[in-house]
C-alpha cells in the first residue's frame, strides 16, 4: 500500500470535540452532520458545532484564487478556539485543513497546532476513540468509495474499512478500480465537464456491477457527483455517508 499519510500520534479519548460540518453538508446533506453528532454523543463525547464555520476554502484554493482561500481559511481557524480535536466529516476538507493550511497560512502564528487538531471522521473513530461497533442491522453487502484526498492525505480508506469490518452483518465488496477518482475534483467537474463525466460514468459502472443497495463514502463531494450521475441514469443505487450508515446499523435498521 502506498500511503503519503504521516505516522501520527493519537491523543486519548477527549471529553469534547468540535464538528466541522463542511459547506456541502450544511446546505445539501445536513442529516449526515446530525448523524455524526449523534454517533459521537453516544460515545459520551460532547460535540460543539461552532455556528461561525462556513467553508474550508478549498474551492477557491483549487481554482488558483489563493488570496480568497486564505481569507476564508483564516476565518475558520478563529471559530475553533478551544484546544480540542476538530472532527471533519469529509476527507477532502479534512485534507485541506490538515495538509494545505500550513502552507496557505504559513505566516499565521500557531497554524500547525491548529492543523494537528484536525481528524477525518473515520480516522477519529478508529484511532482516537478505538470505537467498538455493535451491528444490529440486517445482512447487507456494501461497496466503499473513498475520496482521493481522504485516501491519500488522510488514510481514510483504511480506517473506513476497519469500521465496516466491525459490522458483523455487513459484507464489504471491492468494486473494480476502487482507488480511482470519481471525477469530481470541485470546479474541475464544471471546467472540464467532458472529462469529469467520462470519469463518473466509469465509476458508476463499476459500482453498479457490484449490485449493492448502497455504497458508503465519507465525502459528500464525491457522492453528490456519483449520485447525480446515478439519478441521471435512473439507477436506484445511492451513496450513504459513513456516519449515517454506522449510526443506522448501531441503532437497528431504520426501515424496520
Amino acid at each position: 500500500m502506498e500511503n503519503s499519510v504521516n505516522i501520527r500520534q493519537y491523543p486519548h479519548k477527549p471529553a469534547q470535540v468540535y464538528l466541522y460540518g463542511t459547506c456541502l453538508v450544511d446546505s445539501f446533506y445536513p442529516q449526515s452532520g446530525l448523524d455524526a453528532i449523534e454517533l459521537l454523543t453516544k460515545q459520551d463525547i460532547e460535540v460543539i458545532y461552532p455556528q461561525g464555520q462556513t467553508c474550508c476554502g478549498q474551492p477557491a484554493y483549487n481554482s488558483g484564487y489563493q488570496d480568497q482561500a486564505k481569507a476564508v481559511a483564516l476565518h475558520q481557524i478563529k471559530q475553533f478556539e478551544l484546544d480540542i480535536p476538530i472532527v471533519v466529516i469529509s476527507g477532502s476538507c479534512g485534507g485541506m485543513m490538515r495538509h494545505h493550511y500550513p502552507a496557505l497560512l504559513a505566516d499565521e502564528p500557531g497554524i500547525q497546532a491548529f492543523c494537528d487538531r484536525i481528524y477525518e471522521f473515520s480516522e477519529f473513530l478508529v484511532h482516537v476513540l478505538n470505537i467498538q461497533l455493535f451491528d444490529s442491522g440486517n445482512k447487507e453487502r456494501v461497496a466503499l468509495h473513498t475520496s482521493c484526498a481522504a485516501r491519500r492525505e488522510m488514510g481514510a480508506h483504511e480506517t473506513s474499512k476497519k469500521l465496516l469490518e466491525q459490522l458483523s452483518n455487513v459484507e464489504l465488496v471491492e468494486h473494480q478500480y476502487e482507488s480511482e477518482c470519481c471525477g469530481f475534483g470541485g470546479t474541475f467537474a464544471v471546467k472540464h465537464g467532458d472529462i469529469s463525466v467520462a470519469m463518473v460514468e466509469d465509476k458508476t459502472k463499476h459500482l453498479l456491477a457490484e449490485d449493492t443497495v448502497r455504497y458508503i463514502s465519507g465525502d459528500w463531494g464525491c457522492m453528490m457527483n456519483i449520485d447525480g450521475a446515478l439519478a441521471h441514469q435512473k439507477q436506484p443505487l445511492r451513496g450513504e455517508h459513513i456516519a449515517s450508515f454506522l449510526l443506522d446499523r448501531s441503532v437497528g435498521d431504520k426501515g424496520e
Binding site: 502506498e2 503519503s4 460540518g21 446533506y29 477557491a60 481554482s63 480568497q68 464544471v190 465537464g193 447525480g228
Partner: protein, 478 residues
C-alpha cells in the same frame, strides 16, 4: 501531418473521449502498465527508501545545476565529445542541421528521443532535404501514421495490433496483413535493419548525462539506440539541461527506479554508456559525437524553488499510466509533446501559460501521479501553483511564469471575490445558505456541464446550522 494544438485542448478532449476504440486502447494499455509496475515494487519499504534516495539525488544535482553543466561540458570535451548549447528549439534545430550539413549527411536514423520531438527535429531536417527515420518500433509506427507519440515511453500505445497491421499493409512492400505482434515487429525490423547501415547520421536522446565522467547514458529495449549511436559515422545526442547528474554512483538507483516505474522491468534490455567517439585503433563506433543541451523554458522552472521540482523528472511515464484523465483522453488530446501530469506541469514553461492555461486545471487533483512518481515530484501542488499563476493579474510582479494571467477571466475573479466575502462573514453566509434552501424550487434543472450526465443536487429544507441551532434551543427549553 495531423497538427493538434494545445490551445484547442477542450475540443481535442471532446473528440477523443468519443472514440471508443481509442478509449479501449488506452484503458487496456494503462491497466497493463500499472500491473507491471506494481509487480516490480512489492517491497513497500524498499520503494519508499529508493524513492527518497532518488529524489535527493535529483534535488542535489539541480541545486548544483550550473556547476554540473560546466563540469559535464569540460569532461565531455576532454573525452572528444563536442557540446552545443541551445536556448530555444530553433537553435537546437539549427545546430543539428549544421552538423549534418557539414558532413554532407542525407539520411538520419533516430533512436527514441522526446527532446527531439520537443524541437520537432524531423520536420526541420526534412525541410532541409534530410531524411529522418524513426527506429524505435513505436516511433516508427507513429511516423508511418504521420502522427506524434501519444505516450513518452510507448509512443504508439493509442493504436492496437490490428490497426498497426493495417498500417503496415499500406506502408511496407510485400507485407500481408497480420495482427500477430511478433510478425509485426519482424516486418518493421526488416525495414529498419538496412537503414541503419545506410544512414549518415544517428540521433539519440540521453537519459542521464554524468558530469563527473562525461558519460552519456541511454536506456532502451530494442537495441536501436545502440545501432544509432554506433553504426553511423556521426552521432548527435540531444537532451534537456535537467538530465545532468553528478556522478556515476547516482546512476544505479535512478536506473532501477526508471525501468521499474516505466515498464516494470528490473532493467532495460540495453543500457548504453557513451564516453567518446571511435578511438585510434578501434574498428567501429562513430567518428564524431556531439551533445546538444536544450533549455527551452527549463531555466524558468529552475529559477523558482517550488517549480524547480518539475525538473526532477526522469521521464518514466508512470504519472500518465496512473492518471485517470490521461487514461480517458489519451495522449494526443493534450496537443503537447509531453502529455499527462508531467506534461501539464512542464509544458507551461516551454509554451507559456497563455497557450497552456487549460492544462493545469484539467485535473481532479486526485494525487495518483504523485503517489507513483519515483522522484517525488509533488505534481498536484505544482498544478495548484500553475493555476495560481494562470489566474493572477497579468501585470502583477514578480513574473515567474511566462504568460502569467493567461487563464484569468474577470467574471470568474469577481465571483471568487464575492465568494470570499460571503464565506468570511458568518452572518452573510447563514443568510445566503438559508436563502438557498428556501428558494431551492428556483434552482434551475440545467446547471451547464454538471447536468449533461448528472441531476442537479437539491438543497436541504433547512441547513445544518439551523437544525443544530434549533436542537440546541429545544435542549435548553427542556
Amino acid at each position: 501531418m495531423l497538427v493538434i494544438k494545445v490551445s484547442e485542448f477542450i475540443k481535442n478532449v471532446k473528440r477523443d473521449l468519443n472514440d471508443p476504440q481509442l478509449r479501449e486502447n488506452f484503458r487496456g494499455a494503462m491497466d497493463y502498465l500499472m500491473d507491471k509496475r506494481q509487480a516490480a515494487f512489492t517491497d513497500v519499504d524498499e520503494w519508499a527508501t529508493l524513492k527518497e534516495q532518488c529524489k535527493r539525488i535529483k534535488q542535489r544535482c539541480l541545486l548544483k545545476l550550473p556547476h554540473l553543466l560546466e563540469q559535464l561540458e569540460e569532461n565531455l570535451q576532454r573525452n572528444g565529445i563536442e557540446v552545443h548549447w541551445a536556448e530555444t528549439t530553433e537553435q537546437a534545430n539549427e545546430i543539428i542541421a549544421k552538423l549534418i550539413a557539414k558532413e554532407h549527411g542525407k539520411s538520419v536514423v533516430k533512436g527514441k528521443s522526446m527532446v527531439s520531438e520537443e524541437v520537432a527535429l524531423n520536420d526541420h531536417l526534412e525541410q532541409q532535404g534530410v531524411e529522418c527515420l524513426e527506429t524505435d518500433m513505436g516511433e516508427y509506427i507513429v511516423q508511418l501514421a504521420k502522427e506524434h507519440p501519444s505516450h513518452i515511453i510507448m509512443p504508439a500505445i493509442h493504436q492496437n495490433k490490428s490497426q498497426i497491421g493495417k498500417l503496415f499493409v499500406q506502408h511496407i512492400d510485400g507485407f500481408d496483413y497480420s495482427s500477430d505482434v511478433d510478425t509485426l515487429i519482424k516486418a518493421g525490423r526488416n525495414v529498419l535493419r538496412d537503414k541503419f547501415c545506410q544512414a549518415d547520421v544517428g540521433v539519440t536522446g540521453v537519459n542521464f548525462a554524468v558530469a563527473e565522467t562525461g558519460t552519456l547514458c541511454l536506456v532502451e529495449n530494442e537495441g536501436n539506440g545502440r545501432m544509432c549511436s554506433t553504426v553511423p559515422d556521426l552521432h548527435i545526442a540531444i537532451t534537456g539541461i535537467e538530465k545532468v547528474i553528478e556522478k556515476l554512483d547516482d546512476v544505479p538507483p535512478l536506473l532501477s527506479l526508471l525501468t521499474r516505474s516505466a515498464t516494470g522491468q528490473a532493467i532495460s534490455t540495453y543500457f548504453n554508456m557513451i564516453t567518446h567517439p571511435r578511438q585510434p585503433g578501434e574498428k567501429d563506433g562513430p567518428k564524431a559525437v556531439h551533445l546538444v543541451l536544450l533549455d527551452n523554458g527549463r531555466s524558468q522552472a529552475f529559477a523558482d524553488e517550488e517549480l524547480r521540482q518539475t525538473l526532477q523528472c526522469i521521464r518514466c511515464g508512470a504519472c500518465m499510466n496512473h492518471c485517470p484523465v490521461y487514461t480517458r483522453i489519451g495522449g494526443h488530446a493534450y496537443g503537447t509533446v509531453y502529455p499527462g501530469p508531467i506534461g501539464k506541469i512542464a509544458t507551461p514553461h516551454m509554451l507559456g501559460l497563455e497557450a497552456t492555461n487549460e492544462l493545469p486545471s484539467a485535473s481532479s487533483l486526485c494525487g495518483a501521479c504523485e503517489e507513483v512518481c519515483p522522484v517525488g515530484i509533488p505534481i498536484p501542488k505544482l498544478l495548484l501553483r500553475l493555476r495560481k499563476e494562470s489566474v493572477k493579474p497579468r501585470a502583477d510582479m514578480p513574473q515567474t511564469v511566462k504568460g502569467q494571467g493567461g487563464g484569468r477571466k474577470p467574471v470568474e475573479a469577481l465571483i471568487w471575490q464575492l465568494w470570499a466575502l460571503v464565506h468570511k462573514s458568518p452572518w452573510l453566509y447563514r443568510w445566503s445558505t438559508k436563502l438557498l434552501t428556501r428558494l431551492s424550487w428556483l434552482m434551475p434543472k440545467n446547471l451547464g456541464p454538471w447536468t449533461t450526465a448528472r441531476t442537479a443536487p437539491k438543497p436541504a429544507a433547512k441547513t445544518l446550522h439551523e437544525l443544530i441551532g434549533e436542537n440546541e434551543k429545544q435542549g435548553k427549553r427542556k
